[in-house]
């Protein structure tokens, strides 16, 4: 097992690097797959590991888009004038301006979202269970509506991002590798984070928050930090999406509560909550199924999607990894008392 693990990671890395070259026609699809993986893994940080099911993580995606756009445009032009002209090709960006915007925009989006998670988390983490889910959903919807009425950022018309200064295929490749890079960094970060006492603390909050409080845990600090870290990565993903999509608008693209906002939850449920690999496997499965149905069963795609959700929720409540955990607990390092074992009571 120990020998094969580094080998597995090397193979995966090779696949990640080779994928857009082996499937050149699917570069954008593969980039979107990475987006799914990122939002699923970050959703699982609060939803799976900490037991707080947020339906509002899409807020950080949409906000990330807008922050990245405002930073990129604002460094060169007046944002209000720019959005007034709706892009229109009047405003040109040099290569340096474009790439500075791409880097600073995405990092700025991550930082802004991390900070806003702390500010929004302060009041919302007083809510528990379904109330937290609905509270965060309301926040995301409200944000979408507010932004769609905000003239300075283009209101309902949205924002057109500067065009990539170069070949379009190279652009797709670049976007793929930025998404993949962020995804790999996120994976390594979580793999490390889940070995620290931080994980025990957020798992304890999931298992019994009142007990955790009674034991003196600073539960609010843990909750805010977890959401803030998740928001950081979702914000960056939103920033990259803004550049990838070139044009975006508030309700259907940025704060798309009923699409990506729900997809990320479905990915995690499908793969298995509270595991490192579950969200990744779920995201891959979901994305493949979604694209296949969208292409070959057009008209039935939402029905297929609904069917997946129903089957998962009814028959595989713990997802694929949860089901495996139940069947083969030893693979996950969980020990189960064998039925025939003599139960020894604690010695006197």
């Amino acid at each position: 097992m120990n020998l094969s693990k580094p080998a597995l990671y090397i193979v995966l890395l090779v696949v990640i690097v080779a994928a857009p070259f082996l499937l050149p026609a699917y570069k954008t699809q593969l980039a979107t797959l990475w987006l799914m993986i990122i939002v699923a893994m970050t959703w699982d940080m609060t939803g799976g590991q900490m037991g707080y099911n947020s339906l509002g993580n899409i807020f950080f995606y949409g906000t990330g888009m807008y922050v990245a756009a405002v930073i990129t445009i604002g460094m060169v032009y007046d944002v209000g004038d720019y959005t007034n002209a709706a892009g229109g090709g009047i405003y040109a960006f040099t290569e340096t301006q474009y790439f500075t915007g791409l880097v600073l925009g995405c990092i700025g989006a991550g930082l802004f979202c991390a900070l806003s998670a702390i500010l929004i988390g302060w009041p919302t983490f007083g809510l528990r269970g379904p109330y937290f889910a609905i509270g965060t959903l309301g926040m995301a919807i409200a944000a979408g509506e507010l932004v769609s009425n905000w003239e300075w950022v283009g209101a309902g018309q949205g924002i057109s991002m500067p065009n990539y200064p170069g070949d379009f295929e190279t652009f797709k490749l670049l976007i793929y590798f930025i998404f993949a890079g962020v995804g790999v960094v996120l994976f390594i970060f979580l793999k490390w984070l889940y070995t620290t006492r931080f994980r025990s603390a957020i798992n304890a909050i999931r298992e019994d928050e009142d007990k955790a409080e009674a034991m003196g845990l600073r539960t609010l600090t843990y909750k805010l930090l977890t959401w803030s870290m998740a928001a950081f990565f979702v914000g960056i993903a939103g920033g990259i999406s803004a550049f990838q999509l070139i044009h975006f608008e508030p309700l259907e693209t940025a704060y798309q509560t009923i699409n990506l906002g729900i997809f990320m939850v479905v990915c995690v449920l499908l793969g298995g909550k509270g595991t490192l690999w579950g969200p990744i496997i779920g995201a891959v499965l979901f994305h493949v199924v979604k694209e296949v149905t969208w292409n070959y069963f057009l008209g039935w795609q939402w029905v297929a999607l609904g069917a997946i959700i129903i089957v998962t929720v009814v028959y595989f409540q713990d997802g694929l990894m949860g089901w495996l955990k139940h069947k083969r607990p030893e693979w996950f390092g969980i020990r189960v008392e064998k039925k025939d074992q003599i139960v020894t009571e604690p010695a006197e």
Binding site: T196, T344, E345, P346
Partner: protein, 247 residues
Amino acid sequence: MSAIIQVDRVSKSFGGVRANIDISLTVEEGGITGLIGPNGSGKTTLFNSIVGYHPIDGGSIKFRDLEISKMLVPEIARLGLLRTFQQTRIYGKMDCVQNMLISLPHRKAKFLEMFRRYSSEEHERAEALLDFVGLYEKRYLQSGDLSFGQQKLLEFAMALMNQPSVLLLDEPTAGINPTLINGLIDRLKRANSDFGITLLVIEHNMRVIMNMADHVYCLAHGELLASGSPDEVQNDQSVIDAYLGAH
């Protein structure tokens, strides 16, 4: 001995139900204090008031001369005043060792400590305490799979892991196999004598409380009925009447 917890004329009502009426009691440092009374006499309410689960209507609660009646549960826990629950509460999907490790005290925890791994000393201490309560063999089992009695022992071990100065135990022997109760009494006494933890114990089992406590308070209908040494309380006519239902 000096007082570590001073409850002074504490009252608490839930709507029309007066759960605690002007209750005053003192827990001596280093001792074992018992709290008895028939069902519904307000023992758990008093516990909840002390550890900050709900605001009190009147009176004062002091821990080492610090007023704690307006503090929050985790703040009080970090002072070293810990409670266990009548309905055992553990982290069911984590194994016993993980349950122990997350129970390490958070009093002095600095920010970056959240991102450290557990040291081998901490692992050893967790296993030593699991051994102390007799759960060493089961340390890697998911705690939710343990029997109720074992979960109670685990919760007790978790409380010890937290190194509290005072431990409030809500019916530690309820639901435990009678043959194991002697072992548990012994462990509670050792927690008191070896680890120096002051105990305040709610208990229905008179044999247990009379064996352990140096001072006993008896509540009935939300009021303090009697207090004194176990012998005095046991032979107090009003206590006997409260338990047997005389008017």
